[in-house]
Amino acid sequence: MIYREAGDFKTSYRDDSQTFPIRLDRWGYYAILAVAFGIIPFVINDYWANAVLVPFLIYAIAAMGLNILTGYAGQVSLGTGGFMAVGAYAVYKLMTAFPDVSIAIHVLLAGLITAAVGVLFGLPSLRIKGFYLAVATLAAQFFLVWLFNKVPWFYNYSASGQITAPTRTVFDQAVTGPAASAPAKYLVCLVFAFALAWLARNLTRGSLGRKWMAIRDMDIAAEIIGVNPLRAKLSAFAVSSFFVGIAGALLFAVYLGAAEVGEAFGINKSFLVLFMIIIGGLGSIFGSFAGAAFLVLLPVLLKNTLVGTLGWPTDLAAHIELMIVGALIVTFLIVEPHGLARLWRLAKDKLRLWPFPH
């Protein structure tokens, strides 16, 4: 009876186009923010940070990035892993070359560098469409991984070929390196995820977002009503890669601490992020978070039940996980191509009418 718009009149176009038009949604949103910023940092421990929250926030950023490109602008990319690698290696080079500059600036710069690389690999999208483009982005994936593997300059000629994040601080708190504490890691990722989500929401609600969606839904019609397809597509590649690059930088610097490119940023990473947006919902920022949460939590839950409770060997659990993820993807595409985001919306629509569904 509380969850409805009735009585919540909008008297200006500004109010009508706000992000959460329903009052209860707004309260829920503020409550989540209050918990995320005000409570979790004080109670978080290493297990929750490393197993769940930090990877969730980082993958949510990557998923938002891919969702901008695929869900909003309709360009499927299988190169996410490669672009995350660009972010990771960029932040590594910056961190080691300019140790006195703040890590936050390095991460942003890594995002910008990735955006430039993304534009470069996005250029063919003007000529190539659909799954031709999807396969073409595999070129980025394989080439970039190879590049970071073969050119020693990128990993500072380290003997192992790995990159290792040195300790860097924000407000005198270590956020990278072995000394970083769980709340510090969590807060850094949270701030980035929150700011980027806000950015993504703004970009998708305005004229740029409409250009992207127009290109996605019908590129020829979009061009005829005046959308420059090259600029629309390249801007999508740039913004998307910016997000993905930041995710890659955080994944390496804050979460993993050390990385080997083929292992950390291989093609499976591309698929993981793609699966997140399919399960979460294409063209939805909320869906990016939902999908990331789902696919971060699933292995943890499976591991806890199969290995922890049933006592199965870990490799078997990993294989079962592959099967479950694969089957879930197919099921979602068949049953609910718009993902968790749409299920959530349907639930809300039901709630709006409750208890008088007719």
Binding site: R14, N202, G206, S207, M213, M218, I224, N228, G283
Partner: protein, 273 residues
């Protein structure tokens, strides 16, 4: 029809028609060996409703695609507002103030009616990237201004109640109307309508005719439309071009065209000896 002069003419119902806005001169369009349009010339004048009619496969849609810059003719010139228009990308043509609808509805199915119509105003939105990203200053102001303009069109076309409905869920007739709204949102100088009444029932056709006439009347928009339903066209339009097999076989007021022997032959068929 009263005497046609350089500056225009007065229609049967007393509207003043202005000078030539768009002139097509000796247009020839080929796809490989197939000639879709063969040496066609005609003009469109300020404020008039100009129709292109012809049987299926006459090359009407190709003609419209030439005007909207989607196809580039091999020969001939497109003269817009007195200047030869160079070969342009379709989005550049749109920025000249030429908007259109499509024969097979080309709406953005994943977006709401409101968002679809808002895309019509993309060329009027100039806020920079940063302003949009931060949703501050120009971006927000512009959004609200353009929203107001779009709402006027929504009122005009009487589609207030479906404003937030996803386009994919609308019935055919309403989709056509939303598409018209999107084209109108661009405030075009020249509005191209590709079979605006195809597949509609009588009532929907009447509605659509009414909207086309009032668009022309209230906004003074020049309209060029394609239709193969002769009856509707004759009532709506000021002047008609008739095409058959890629050639122009008639051009003039509805009554002139109706009495043209070549047109009668094309439509009713003619016995070949």
């Amino acid at each position: 029809m009263n005497a046609m002069t350089q500056d225009g003419y007065v229609t049967a119902d007393g509207r003043q028609i202005g000078p030539v806005v768009m002139e097509l001169r000796n247009i020839t369009l080929r796809f490989g060996g197939v000639v879709a349009i063969k040496d066609i010339s005609f003009d469109i004048r300020q404020g008039e409703i100009r129709a292109i009619i012809g049987p299926n496969g006459a090359g009407k849609s190709s003609m419209l695609n030439v005007i909207s810059g989607f196809y580039h003719p091999q020969d001939g010139q497109v003269i817009f507002k007195g200047q030869v228009r160079p070969a342009m990308k379709p989005y550049q043509v749109a920025r000249l103030g030429i908007a259109r609808t499509f024969q097979n509805i080309a709406l953005f199915e994943g977006m709401s009616v409101l968002d679809n119509i808002m895309t019509g105003r993309l060329n009027k939105m100039k806020a920079g990237f940063l302003s949009q990203a931060l949703w501050w200053g120009a971006a927000e102001r512009e959004e609200i201004e353009n929203r107001a303009a779009v709402e006027r069109i929504i009122d005009f076309l009487e589609i207030q109640n479906i404003r937030k409905t996803p386009v994919g869920r609308l019935p055919y007739g309403l989709k056509k109307r939303v598409e018209l709204a999107r084209a109108l949102a661009a405030e075009p100088n020249l509005l191209l309508l590709d079979e605006p009444m195809a597949g509609m029932n009588v009532e929907e056709k009447e509605d659509m005719s009414r909207f086309i006439l009032s668009v022309n009347d209230e906004f003074g928009t020049t309209i060029c439309l394609i239709e193969h339903d002769m009856g509707v066209v004759m009532d709506l339009s000021d002047r008609v071009v008739v095409m058959d097999y890629g050639k122009k076989i008639g051009d003039g007021t509805p009554s002139e065209v109706r009495s043209n022997q070549a047109v009668i032959d094309a439509y009713l068929g003619v016995a070949h000896d």
